[in-house]
């Protein structure tokens, strides 16, 4: 996977995302509004539930902190999102915040895949445990 839109560290998603199947642990939340989060030019985005506006996820393009991150999207996920062209895919990963910012982690095991054309989204699960659900966000430089 070496397409520019996948590697774009700051995809600009302004629309809302629709998760037909919800998210694991939150099957009842289907629609989320995206907004920028953090300081100016921050790579983080906030994904706020429309169904329950008190629930939000901080997300980031995994390639910002893990430029070597890669996976093969399984066929059924691609079909479910009607993804015909990989250039239409945007990948985001959920960040788990902590009291200490340096303890923040990112879920590389279950990336969110978005069809940029339709804003249909789902949380994929990578078949092999190459990546963890709690990868450290800030790695030793």
């Amino acid at each position: 996977m070496s397409h520019s839109s996948l590697l774009n560290p700051t995809p600009s998603i302004t629309a809302s995302l629709h998760f037909a199947a919800g998210l694991p642990g939150f099957p009842h939340l289907h629609d989320f509004v995206m907004s920028q989060w953090g300081k100016q030019d921050s790579p983080f985005m906030l994904m706020t539930s429309i169904d329950d506006s008190d629930v939000g996820f901080v997300v980031i393009s995994p390639f910002v902190f893990y430029p070597e991150y890669e996976f093969e999207l399984d066929k059924s996920t691609a079909q479910r999102l009607s993804l015909l062209d990989p250039t239409d895919a945007i990948v985001l990963c959920i960040v788990t915040l902590s009291d200490r910012p340096q303890d923040a982690t990112v879920n590389l095991l279950g990336p969110i895949v978005v069809n940029d054309r339709t804003c249909e989204a789902c949380q994929a699960v990578l078949p092999h445990a190459a990546y963890g659900a709690q990868a450290p966000l800030a790695r030793a430089a």
């Binding site: 037909a20 694991p24 642990g25 902190f65 959920i94 095991l109 659900a133």
Partner: protein, 85 residues
């Protein structure tokens, strides 16, 4: 819990559109084939549980986010695909 006995190449139906087929039994491992509509997520249970826990830990009350907003790790210097060649 319903318990059924099946052999290789035999299936069970769940509802009217989910088919689980025993493909192979070898030692203590069973390979299953699952045919389900696109709207149905199929996961290994332990992986699904991991994701559930991760998502619950990550879900943040949006009211608490403001305090954390200024304290996030800086992104490493932007690396473009061209740089990594």
């Amino acid at each position: 819990m319903l318990v059924l006995t099946r052999r290789a190449n035999q299936s069970i139906m769940i509802g009217h559109d989910i088919v689980v087929t025993v493909l192979e039994v070898r030692g203590d491992q069973v390979r299953l084939g699952i045919r389900a509509p696109r709207s149905v997520d199929v996961h290994r249970e332990e992986v699904f549980a991991t994701l559930q826990q991760a998502n619950k830990a990550a879900a943040t009350s949006t009211r608490d986010l403001v305090a954390l907003e200024d304290a996030m790790p800086e992104a490493p210097a932007a690396q473009t695909p061209a740089d990594s060649q």
